[in-house]
């Protein structure tokens, strides 16, 4: 039987740990400001009128919403690096000795990883919503709920990879490559309509596409270029379910026995 109290204790620990990475948080904030205030503004004036119309009237708004989802993704994957840090310092053995089941541990970590990402990106998300302007609160709440699931799913994805690979160097390289491809092969930066066919196919099933388009829909960006909200929500639920399940499954089997490099 899973105890929610114990799950929350694990999640709370991860949130507290994250707040210690001050430099990382500052770096991400600087990156966000530079992306929006410099790159976003200049690139906005580079695109054709039909592109601006296709993305709901302003590429800047479209881009700003996409950057928020990119940040949610990049902060949620950080949980995998935490696992390696713990393995390096022998904390995993300590965690295995505490009266928390493996399922509670991985569930707590997924929730903690997702929540801390939301807590961190929250102020920037509010700023972007202020820039875009919210048209329907209900729509926004539905989108935020899906984004919560998205961040839990990303944390589960990161935990799954970390415990499967058990090598910090390989994990680092894999995450670097994944990060480079998953963001660019999604609609976080541009709509599918302008991608070549061979990229569009991947973007259509990319969880970042679902999250970015759902956030835009929630913020009221009227555009035919975004994925229908029901389909996007379904995609996020599928992503969340798959990686939370895989995370629990692999975490239970592979966490013990050492072998961390």
């Amino acid at each position: 039987m899973i105890s929610l109290r114990r799950v929350w204790t694990v999640a709370e620990r991860d949130i507290r740990m994250f707040l210690r990475y001050k430099f990382l948080l500052i770096m991400r904030a600087i990156w966000f400001i530079a992306q929006i205030a410099l790159f976003g503004l200049i690139v906005n004036s580079m695109f054709r009128t039909d592109v601006q119309n296709a993305v709901g009237g302003s590429y800047f708004n479209y881009y700003a919403a996409g950057i928020i989802v990119t940040m949610l993704y990049s902060t949620a994957v950080f949980i995998g690096y935490d696992i390696y840090e713990e393995a390096d310092h022998g904390v995993i053995e300590y965690l295995l000795s505490v009266p928390v089941s493996r399922k509670e541990l991985v569930l707590g970590r997924s929730i903690g990883g997702g929540l801390r990402s939301f807590l961190y990106v929250g102020p920037m998300m509010l700023f972007v919503l202020y820039l875009i302007g919210v048209s329907s609160v209900l729509q926004l709440l539905a989108a935020l709920l899906s984004l919560f699931l998205f961040t839990f799913g990303v944390s589960g994805f990161s935990i799954t990879l970390a415990v499967s690979i058990k090598s910090s160097d390989r994990f680092d390289i894999l995450m670097g490559v994944t990060d480079a491809l998953i963001v660019r092969l999604s609609t976080t930066l541009y709509p599918i309509a302008y991608m070549p066919q061979y990229y569009a196919g991947i973007a259509l099933i990319n969880p970042l596409t679902f999250a970015a388009d759902l956030f835009r829909w929630g913020a009221g960006i009227e555009s035919a270029a975004i994925t229908p909200p029901l389909l996007a929500a379904f995609g996020i639920v599928a992503f969340f379910s798959m990686f939370t399940f895989l995370g629990i499954f692999l975490h239970e089997r592979r966490l013990e026995g050492g072998g961390w490099q």
Binding site: F23, L24, A34, L38, I42, L185, Y194, M195
Partner: protein
């Protein structure tokens, strides 16, 4: 880092090419071709900047004391570190420059003559040395890793986004005219535009581009050398 650079070129730039107003990039064939020389600069800058992080760590852990025990003069040690950072950038940049040469040749059927190629390589090498110097000077300005990371972030993004690496100068002038001066004298702009001048014929080559990059290299290599010598003597 390689995957990030290649993804920027072969995914992001390809998609942006389908979205960009053709009037903006007409002189450069397409956005993809325009961005290719910029990619070399991003790769070079990122690789040359890495030495600062290592030197900041060495100072914090006092590894510099071990360095002083080596049979090398302090000036040689300091200058060697600056040049090593620069060479890293050049080594990392080389395959990406070859990719850029290939792309521009495929799209324009033109290739630079040996003198032009030599000028490009010299300029990019100077840019790499200047970047290494900037990174070391920044790393030595504080022993706090958090402060260093923050300063690095500010310098990194301001230099990149206020340059012509991602977009032409005309666009910066019209979208954010306040940044024009920074973008014009930014060594990253000069490096990217000098490469474009010889590879794409636009913007026209201006010797001041080379002077700008040379000054950047001279100033930051000198500051970094002096700062390194001073810090290791503490």
């Amino acid at each position: 880092m390689v995957s990030m650079n290649l993804a920027d070129l072969f995914i992001m730039a390809v998609v942006y090419t389908n979205m960009v107003n053709p009037n903006i990039t007409r002189e450069y064939v397409s956005y993809f071709v325009f961005f290719a020389p910029g990619l070399t600069i991003t790769a070079l800058f990122a690789a040359a900047f890495m030495i600062g992080r290592e030197i900041n760590m060495e100072v914090r852990r006092e590894i510099s004391h071990y360095m002083l025990s080596l049979p090398i003069k302090r000036l040689e040690l300091a200058l060697g570190r600056v040049l090593a950072g620069g060479f890293r950038g050049v080594i990392y940049m080389a395959p990406l420059l070859a990719t850029t040469l290939g792309i521009t040749y495929i799209y324009t059927s033109a290739s630079p003559n040996p003198l032009q190629l030599l000028t490009i390589i010299t300029t990019l090498s100077l840019l790499s040395i200047g970047t290494s110097g900037l990174s070391i000077a920044l790393a030595l300005s504080t022993t706090s890793f958090e402060k260093y990371i923050t300063a690095r972030g500010v310098v990194y993004y301001v230099l990149f986004f206020c340059s012509t690496v991602f977009y032409p100068m005309g666009l910066i002038q019209s979208a954010l005219p306040q940044l024009t001066l920074i973008a014009q004298y930014n060594p990253l702009s000069c490096g990217a535009d000098l490469s474009r001048a010889f590879l794409l014929g636009n913007p026209p080559f201006d010797p001041l581009m080379l002077v700008d990059v040379a000054l950047f290299a001279l100033i930051f290599a000198s500051i970094a050398t002096l700062a390194y010598m001073k810090v290791t003597q503490k």
